[in-house]
């Protein structure tokens, strides 16, 4: 099973101008923030924010780093994503079986429910599961260059990470807006 930090470091090393959307505790572990970056603190809604970004900016890949507990709160988003089918969306779910922030509480259905199968049943065709960082890295390398939407289940160990970003919520929002606006004008 992967460590969350090594997954996030892999994403950071392999991406350049993609829009990265970590959700809740997936923010922990970024050594520096990418240029196109949005930390989603609306529990459950990272996949939907990422969908909006993907529709607005079809020229860029959008990678959402979701949590399994978070996605359980917005399962309908799988259906909406499948229905709209943005080819530039990669939905990575870090599955540790926990709601980590409130105290590492096991999520319902841990070990029973399959988010990958839910994504498949929702109509998403590109489904990938990774347990090891090497496989994840090789998979991501491919997925960054093929059409999606893509659903990735990444099994990760529970674990702490570094602290929270120093920017404010509004600051992070404006940072992404300004970066995308500047890129449009370039």
């Amino acid at each position: 099973m992967m460590q969350r930090n090594e997954l996030l470091e892999t994403v950071q090393a392999m991406t350049t101008d993609e829009i990265i959307v970590p959700v809740m505790s997936a923010i922990k572990g970024w050594s520096e923030l990418p240029d196109y970056f949005y930390w989603c603190t609306a529990m459950g809604y990272g996949s939907s924010v990422a969908l909006g970004l993907a529709l607005a900016r079809p020229e860029r890949k959008v990678i959402v780093l979701d949590g399994d507990g978070s996605l359980l709160m917005n399962l309908g988003s799988l259906v909406t994503i499948a229905d709209l089918a943005p080819p530039n969306l990669i939905h990575v779910v870090l599955e540790n079986g926990l709601w980590e922030l409130p105290g590492s509480i096991p999520i319902p259905g841990r070990g029973k429910a399959s988010l990958s199968e839910m994504a498949r049943a929702a109509g998403i065709e590109s489904i990938h599961e990774y347990d090891e960082i090497g496989d994840f890295k090789a998979g991501l390398e491919s997925l960054l260059h093929v059409e999606g939407p893509t659903f990735v289940s990444a099994k990760v160990e529970p674990g702490a990470g570094a602290g929270l970003p120093k920017q404010t919520l509004v600051g992070i929002t404006r940072r992404l807006e300004e970066a995308l606006a500047a890129a449009s004008q370039a």
Partner: protein
């Protein structure tokens, strides 16, 4: 004027203020807008599965540089409380179109409109206090003349750098028995 014409007036206002996307769930109160918005090739109409999802999609569209509104029902706004809190905290300058179910049950009296019995008194009694609890300004769009207030909602959202709600009713177009 036919209520469908008011729907067109609302759509015209949205386009005037740069809206390209309407993210919605069906709402009984505002179905008079459906024909106008769905027949307009300049608008992208996105259906989703929950009102919180709608708010989040619109936020993403906005950050990506696209003009977007939600069109949802007040019942759904209650359901999307945490997402609404996040939209307000993040200061997204969004206009949220919200159908005001239960408003049609107001009755005219010499003293003005009063509430009469409604199917969902909680919906009737809590819609505006709910919105006020989030410190979000709102406008009541209750007539053809009121549709110009949608423009004011957009102006206020920009000036305050935060969300503004337009509560839409079909009260004066209400037909008994429907």
């Amino acid at each position: 004027m036919d209520l469908a014409d008011r729907g067109q007036m609302i759509v015209d206002q949205l386009k005037r203020y740069g809206v390209e996307y309407i993210v919605w769930l069906p709402d009984s109160e505002t179905n008079f807008i459906n024909a106008a918005m769905e027949s307009d090739p300049a608008l992208n109409i996105i259906k989703c599965c929950s009102e919180g999802e709608a708010l989040a999609i619109v936020a993403g569209l906005h950050m990506g540089g696209k003009g977007a509104v939600v069109l949802i029902e007040n019942n759904g706004l209650f359901d999307a409380g945490n997402a609404l809190r996040w939209v307000a905290d993040s200061r997204f300058p969004l206009v949220l179109l919200v159908g005001y179910i239960s408003y049609r049950y107001m009755t005219e009296t010499p003293e003005g409109r009063i509430w009469s019995d409604a199917y969902w008194p909680g919906v009737r009694d809590l819609t505006e206090p709910f919105i006020k609890a989030f410190d979000i300004p709102y406008y009541l769009i209750d007539s053809d003349e009121d549709t110009k207030l949608i423009g004011e909602a957009f102006e206020e959202a920009r000036s305050r750098s935060g969300p503004v709600i337009a509560l839409l009713t079909s009260a004066d177009g209400y037909v008994a028995g429907t």
